[in-house]
Amino acid sequence: MFTRIALLSLVVLCQVAWAQSETSGFSIRGVTDVGYANTSGAKSWLRGGSGKLRFDEDDNDELQLLDIGIAIDYAFDLQSKFTVVGHRYDGDFALTEAFWEYRPLNDGAWRGRYRVGAFHPSFSLENTGPLWTSPYTVKSSAINTWFGEEMRIIGAEGKWTWIRDPHNKSKHRFSLFGALYAYNDPMGAMISWRGWSVHDRQIGLNGTFSIRDLPILQIIDHSPDFEPFMEIDDRPGFYVGSEWTLERRFRLQLVHYDNLTDHTLRQAGQYGWRTRFSQIAFHWRMGNGYEVLGQFLAGNTLMAKDGLDNDFEAAYVMLVKSWGRHRLAVRWDVFRVVNQSLILYDDNFEEYGDEDYDYDDDDYEYNYENYDYNDELGNSQTVSYSYLFGDSWKLSLEATRIWSRQDSRMHFGQNPRLAEKQVLASVRYYF
């Protein structure tokens, strides 16, 4: 507790010491978030449980330091800056981003933005707040929670926006963007072996995390710690996207992502995962403070030669109403993982087959001990009310329910079906 107060004081002191400015040179900005969470359901995945949330019943009576996030910018001029972002979550430090950004003046009809380093890609319409927080809810959607965990562009990204008639600020804009990156080869492990999740904790570039002790991890000699940002096959991945915006009212985005990993390789206890997906997303500001956001993603991940083959899908729709300093956001998430090739493993991790398996038949007698079950189906509802006070404080009250059916829970003698609930109150300070 004292540590937390000390850290908060440090942040405030930092702010005083580094008066924020936009002239060339250093500036500092950030977020601190303190709150209470009351959770019921299962032990959190962060504690090796089957729960999808960041907190569980053990945290119910404790004040949580949800986040201390600090971004340090060094501006070379108004077109070019270097940014480093770090977060402290639950006692762990996570360096989440470090990149150089260059936004040159082009000829007015089009403009470019370039980033080099490690950063979140340009395609979350939800996490548009400082330090990749969501301005709508405390916990991100299943899709963006996953992006915050397992995806980071460690490479170079360009975004080019074309304005039809710049002198009259045409209402229509078209953008193309894309990136080449490395160090994202193990991406896909989390949604396959833990499943989708709903929380607000990003994984650092240096970060590792452990999950449930699934039998397959021992069989294939996987490290108990997952390391999402590793280069295994020395081959870059890519993503490409396009966007159409109509003034600030409507934004439509298409993205295709493929890490092009050689999934037959492994290194230091981590496997290469070939993960690719396509995404469509929109953000519509309807007027009178009403907004609708939606994101739909579908993809596939492969791991090991003739090994794991999972299709995955997730989507959310969020309705937002803002009035004055109040905001209400209601989000509905759905997600699933479908085993395309159920692994029946033996000691050599070679044999697999799914001919006898009907995972939709509840009466089927599972011989689960020899299978790696990744099937998951779930949905989540979040209602979040927030209030801004002063120039930098935000109070959030958030209720979330997650229902999921995850066959792998049978390995631990648990019911595959699980309903989790969480009520969260948080006070955020932006500086």
Binding site: E22, T23, Q79, L105, N168, K169, R248, K394, Y430
Partner: protein, 220 residues
């Protein structure tokens, strides 16, 4: 020839009289006979009788940035007038123009006032900000000391010497094919001119800055 000399004499007489007796001229813009709101439109009067219009002393004018917008939206300036770009916001701006008249960029840090910019040739200079994408403003450079801006649906210039002028109206909402340019004779009793629009107005105005919440970052 016999006829022309008295005319010339008469004209010279009128002109010498006109410099002392200035006219008051009103310009309005209509479409199908109905007055049109063209607030801020620049109306310039280019004298046709003299080689060069009398020069005014060119004191500087300002195109401010305030609340992440340009103020004024449209700024008329005579050629060679120094234009200052004071930044009254807490944030920095990066003002640019890619106009044919003059291309420039100005990094405008808070509390700094760079040297003014002058425009040697008449024309329209659209302004933008590389940081705040929605910001737009126009400097209209005129080669005449006689100009004014329309207020609502009409505008008035209080003192202009009678004579022949080329009157021109410019506003960003005017269709590109529209030509509001006319040769007129301003006399003591002909002081009202009307322009009829051929094309409908474009829906162009100064976009309001987006509502800034500290929990959101503007993606520009």
């Amino acid at each position: 020839m016999n006829v022309r000399i008295p005319r010339l004499l008469l004209t010279m007489f009128l002109m010498s009289w006109s410099w002392t007796a200035a006219a008051r001229v009103t310009v309005e813009v209509v479409s199908d006979g109905q007055p049109v709101q063209l607030h801020g439109a620049v109306v310039s009067f280019q004298p046709m009788d003299t080689e060069r219009a009398p020069r005014r002393e060119s004191h500087s004018v300002s195109m401010e940035q305030i609340n992440r917008q340009f103020r004024p939206f449209i700024l008329p300036v005579p050629v060679n007038t120094p234009v200052l770009f004071p930044n009254l916001d807490e944030t920095a701006h990066h003002v640019y123009s890619f106009s044919k008249i003059r291309r420039f960029e100005l990094p405008l840090y808070k509390g700094e006032l760079p040297d003014p910019i002058t425009f040697a040739n008449p024309g329209v200079v659209p302004l933008g900000c590389n940081i705040h994408d929605w910001m737009i403003g126009y400097i209209v450079v005129v080669d005449s000391p006689y100009f004014m801006q329309i207020d609502g649906d009409r505008g008035t210039i209080e003192t202009i010497p009678p004579g022949r002028y080329e009157v021109q109206v410019w506003h960003p909402a005017l269709d590109g094919r529209e030509s509001l340019r006319e040769l007129v004779e301003i006399t003591a009793n002909h002081t009202k001119f009307r322009f009829d629009l051929e094309f409908p107005l474009l829906s162009v105005g100064q976009p309001p800055p987006p509502v800034q919440r500290f929990d959101e970052r503007l993606d520009y």
